[in-house]
Structure formats: C-alpha cells, structure tokens
Symmetry: C2
Subunit: 253 residues, 2 copies
C-alpha cells in the first residue's frame, strides 16, 4: 500500500480523498484540516486531525489548499526529506519548502463539491524533483486516473492559462448567453444542446476546423445587426474583440 | 403524408433531407439545387431539379440557403399562396416574398456535413403567419425533433446572438487554448475532458453558479501572471475584457 496524507479540505482535497478510497493500492493515512467536520462525511474521525504536529508518517503528503497558502503550509510541516506535492495549476513546484522533496499533482478538471466526477477521466499533470519520486507519483496518479501526463512547472503555467480560456472564460460566455435569453424572454434551455455539441465537436475536430458563424464568414451585415441588439457595454466589447480575433485568425491561414 | 420541397444544398438542407427521410409522416417531394450532384448521395435523381420552373406542388417549401440569398430565392418562386419557410436564425420572417405564406423553421444547432447529429435532439424554433400554418409546421417539427419552440422573429434574433456567444465565440476560445498549448509544447488533448465537463455543468447548473477561476476570485496576482505569459495582443485583450466582465458581474450580485 502507498500511504497518503491529505492537507486541506477544499474541492480538490475532497475529490482526492474519495478517489483514493476507491483504489486498492492507495490509502488515506490522515487528513489535516482546520475544521474536523469539513471532511467527516468522507473519512473516519480517527484519521482526521487539526493539529499539524500530529501528522503521522506517510509515503506522500498532498497539500491541497489555496494558491497563496501553499508556501506557508509547506513551511509549517515539522518533518524533513519526505515527499510533498501541491495540486495547483499556477504555482511552481519550487515554491514548496526546501525542507522536503518537492512534487506536483495537478488535476486539470473543474471540480465542485456539488457535482460528482469520474476521477478516472480527470487528466493528472505530475512533476517531481527526482526520478524515484516521479516513479512513485506516477504509480499514485495511474491508480487514480487513466490520463497521466508529465508536465513541468513552465508547461503547467501555460496549461493553466489555456484552461482559463477553455473553461472559466467559456463559462462566462454561457452566462452572457443566459443573460441575453433572460433579457429577451426566451428559455436558455434552447441553447443547451448547442453548448454540448460545440464542446463535443472539438473532442474529434481541430477547433479551427470547427469554427462557424458570422465572424468566420466576415459577414459584416449580421455582425452589425448583432451589435445593435446588445445593450451591455461589456457584452459589446467582448463581441467586438472576439469577432476581430476570429477575422484576424482567418487572415493568418 | 406531408410533402416537403427543400431548396438548397448546404449543411442545414442536407441534415433536413436526412431527417425527413427517417420519418414515416413526412416526405421529401423534391430538392432544388444548382448542382444536382451536391445532394445525389441523399436522394433519388428523379427528385432533384436545378430548374426552378419545374418545382412540383408541396405542402411546405423550405428555403435553406445563405442569409443574403433568402429574399432573392423567395422572390424567384413562380407560384403563390403556398407555405414557404426559411431556416435562418438572423433573418426576419417578413423578409420572405409576399407572394406566399411565410414561416420559419430554425434549427438551433451547429450542423456540419462531416459530423452526424441526432436530429431528434436539435431544438427547432418555429414561426408562421397564421394559426393553420403554425399547426402544420408544428406537426412537421415535432416529427423531426423532440425539442420544438414557438419563437417570434425578434426573439429568434436575440437567440441567434446568444448562440454566437455560446458556440462561435466559445469555439474560438477553444482555438486560443489550442494555440497556447502548441506555443508551449503541451498536448491540447489534456484540456479536452475539461472542455466537455464545463459544457456538461451548465446543463444542470446556472452558469453563474458554475463560474470558477482567478477572475471570479478577483485574484490579481494570478491574473497578472497569466497576462505576462500571453504573447498575442488579441489574446491579451480577450483575457482582459473577459476578466473585467466576470469581476463586474460579481459586483452586481
């Protein structure tokens, strides 16, 4: 068995605890949280602690806290030369304390407590300081997911930016679509199959090949009609810059 | 049987021919195209014509051509007082010629010739000038799809704008994500589960509730790190305005 201690109680920490519990080779030794009740629905009370000095020995410690707390938490660990990983997309591995061997296990998926996710489908981006640690981390990751990638800190940063575009920003465009529907009294429901099909298309086609719409066709008449319908300044600005970017992209080809 | 003539050979026309052929109540009487070979893989040669004067009698004529050709094509029909529908999201029903009874059958889905779509899942937005025509159109639409909506020309225009945001613009954000991956030598593949999950989330959650990311948290440090990674001016501008819009939206709540 590979023993793992989870430090934190956020979305990623909770999904990790659940995913580890489903394997036969990995086990959660302990969970460190500020508030014991925050994870008591996931694991036995005797494995939860809110006293950092009571952390037991484990093969891997996973720090899953907010980005700006990672450094402080890693420095607060009293032991040394153990394997300590964080789970952040935008924090470099080097930012972990030098007291321990550093690693990263970054699940590239949108995880919320409310929605169940099949963790075996979540891409895991891993990184470690030395070959032996990378091997252990690979074994851990492969037991949790079918999609494991070796990604260094620089690559991970750029992946995180790309993820903001294809997920956070995409979701905001869904929000704008919903706002337009509310304003004009049409059900947002009508757009849901289109949203799903657009995401499914790029699973098998290049995004460039899948591009359609007035900007792609440089259809100025429709573009101007659309701008006249929009009443919100941010919506107008977003429409203009995305249209410009699609048109500029067409010119490059 | 309800007899239908299709005018046009584009993506929508081809998907309609296939979908109608699968029903027991609707039949394609004839297809009018410029180039007979463009639809000969879908329907018998004797039902295809490239001579507009040879159009036979039908219960419904569906004009499925590019937006700027709809008016001209509808005026070129030699008969009168028949039911004629177009399939466009952004053209008003009124733009059809007064010679015939006007209607709209707008499939709100991204349809490409390359990718099969289950037409029964495609939302169909319908509109007609009088109650009897709306009844016939409803019967046609309900035989093609499980999702039929009565949507007037004004609502349809705003739906079309919303569709540009949640599909065309979303696809362009996928393109940018892909470009960032190529630039930093990481496989775009890693982002595909995230893309799908983000689209699935809003099938059951409000987009506003599903929003995550640095802009949502007003995390200026991560936002600035991301802007420093981006090298393309359009990408930077898109990052800035979408971040501003998410932050402004948070203030409204």
């Amino acid at each position: 068995m590979i023993s793992i201690t989870i430090i934190g109680s956020g979305n990623v920490a909770q999904h990790l605890i659940k995913a580890i519990s489903k394997t036969t080779i990995l086990e959660v030794t302990q969970v460190y949280v500020r508030n014991i009740d925050s994870v008591s629905h996931l694991i036995d009370y005797d494995k939860i602690t809110n006293d950092i000095s009571k952390l037991k020995n484990a093969d891997l410690y996973i720090i899953s806290v907010s980005d700006d707390a990672i450094q402080t938490v890693s420095k607060s660990l009293f032991f040394s030369n153990k394997l300590v990983a964080h789970t952040s997309g935008s924090v470099a591995m080097e930012e972990l304390s030098d007291n321990n061997r550093k690693a990263v296990l970054y699940p590239l998926q949108t995880l919320s407590k409310k929605k169940e996710v099949d963790f075996t489908t979540v891409p895991l981006c891993i990184e470690a300081q030395n070959e032996a640690d990378l091997q252990l981390l690979t074994e851990v990751a492969q037991n949790l997911s079918d999609h494991v990638y070796n990604v260094d800190s620089e690559q991970r940063k750029s992946l995180h930016v790309a993820a903001v575009f294809v997920s956070n920003f995409v979701n905001h465009l869904y929000k704008i679509g919903s706002d337009i529907c509310i304003e004009h009294k049409v059900p947002f429901e009508i757009l849901k199959p289109l949203i799903l099909e657009t995401a499914k298309k790029v699973q098998i086609m290049e995004p460039n090949e899948a591009q359609t719409g007035p900007a792609k066709r440089n259809d100025t008449s429709t573009i101007n009609k659309h701008l006249a319908i929009l009443t919100d300044e941010n919506q107008k600005d977003i429409y203009k810059i995305l249209t410009k970017s699609i048109i500029d992209n067409g010119k490059k080809l």
